[in-house]
Symmetry: C2
Subunit: 300 residues, 2 copies
């Protein structure tokens, strides 16, 4: 919902993205006017259960107060998890003490540590990790991934091998089941789908560990504030160029790369895509209002 | 730039208006995304010398942090006056302490008292007054008016009466000048233009003093959150109906009335205008992006 960097333009809003994971909505950063764009995209505010804030520069969090207020006015009662660096705590406290009248839901701040990837949220099927980025102030990225699903057993194999309930359960758990002294697991069991993942890397200078932390990600969002020719400015401001983003995607063996957080100097960013594609062909530009799907690949 | 009430809609932004007084720009309230709409309207951020905040409900001030940050990034050094209730102080302090790194301009908070109209800013030609409104929390309206201009002396009269420099100055100051024992002031002096004024009355239930405080205003903005049929809700929420706004304009002998701050229940507000016009025919709806002019009426 927002592809601008520090200065919004007439057609670019500050950073904000919504990730729909099986109907559970994660808001990734919350730049100014996020609530207005959520409404434009017809996204239900109340379905947002989790907000992930990368850092407390204004273009990544100035939309929080408005969104949290509107959630209160719409009658929200369900707890809202807000992940983010320690410095986010006083901001949420200030919001609650100054604008929190009528707030009938709990705001739960989960502090992201700044050492290495950590699981900050987990359900049976998905998990959310935060990891440190390399910016001027404490800043973290997020990785949301489906867990490896339980194995399925092929229906025809159940009959063929006369598998009972206990044996089926064993196979689903990955335990060896034998016939004629040989394991039949590979033949009868299959992974129902390939787990998908999304990584959000906002505002970072490149650093060696990042690619390993998002290794094999299905869809990588990586900021590309500047074109290659402005690499020096990228370094001094702790940002990335198109090439930095593309190299990260390449090293991480990502399936696809999205770039954004464009410097306001560039109304037209088509050259950004071209630059990145010379290194990582599966690069795509983000635009306000666009929707990107990570298709589910079923195995049977 | 914003005609929404508490909940923004897909096409209405929270409250924000810009008043251009002879090239000096006053921002009246600063709802979320005000900086984005300023940019869309091609209004220079640096020409804004004064921001008038009516009260600290989010829909009137959540755009401040973004705007103040952007002004800093654009290199502002000139002092910025922000008028508003006492409760605005801690918000500005929090901004400065948490997001104020790189701020190279002074933010001067002028506290508006909540008793009666007071001049909060004055130059040779204009003055800005604040006055209390009747809302759930401390809230004030603003009146910006041109001062009564110095009198001009008709050129042909100077020759006819042989007026010297001292006499001309006397006439301009309004002092009597005689010829044949009779004052000639009415014949030789004239007011060069009719002073114009604009009043901003955001978020208020009607109350008796208001019309007298904005008496004779050229252009009155008065909130009209609800239609007449919802007068009960207007009372309990300390807001106004279309009829309340129109009656205020009528009693104040305003030249024209603008209404806004529409409840999100009403995507179409054409009926609001019709209702108000039954009481005050010179009523006009506000819309995002519209420009309203108060023409200068010259006397000679």
């Amino acid at each position: 919902m927002g592809t601008a960097s520090a200065l919004p333009t007439t057609c670019r809003y500050p950073s904000a993205q919504v990730l729909d994971v099986r109907g559970r909505l994660f808001l990734l950063d919350c730049g100014e006017a996020a609530q207005i764009n959520l409404r434009r995209q017809k996204i239900s505010f109340l379905k947002i259960s989790d907000i992930c804030i990368s850092h407390i520069h204004g273009d990544h969090c100035f939309g929080l107060f408005g969104l949290l207020s509107t959630m209160a006015m719409l009658g929200r009662t369900g707890c809202l998890n807000i992940y983010g660096p320690r410095a986010l705590g006083p901001i949420l406290d200030f919001f609650k003490s100054t604008f929190g009248e009528g707030l009938r839901y709990e705001i739960h701040h989960v502090v992201t540590t700044m050492k290495e990837p950590q699981v900050v949220f987990s359900t049976k099927n998905i998990e959310l990790l935060s990891f440190p980025l390399n910016h001027r102030i404490e800043c973290c990225g997020y990785l949301i991934r489906e867990k490896v699903p339980q194995l399925n057993v092929r229906k025809e194999a159940i009959e063929r091998y006369g598998l009972g309930v206990a044996e089926i359960a064993s196979i689903k758990r990955g335990e060896e089941v034998l016939r004629g002294g040989l394991p039949i697991n590979d033949e009868v069991a299959y992974q129902p789908y390939v787990p998908r993942s999304y990584a959000y890397c906002s505002d970072t200078a490149p650093f060696p560990e990042l690619a390993s932390w998002v290794q094999g990600v299905s869809l990588l969002y990586h900021e590309a504030t500047f074109p290659v020719e402005m690499a020096d400015l990228a370094r001094t401001t702790f940002h990335s160029t198109t090439a930095d983003a593309a190299r990260c995607a390449l090293e991480a063996r990502a399936e696809r790369l999205l770039i954004g957080h464009y410097s306001s100097r560039f109304p037209d960013v088509s050259a950004f895509q071209e630059e990145a594609r010379t290194i990582f062909p599966e690069t795509y530009l983000t635009h306000e209002g666009d929707i990107y799907e990570v298709p589910l690949v079923k195995m049977e």
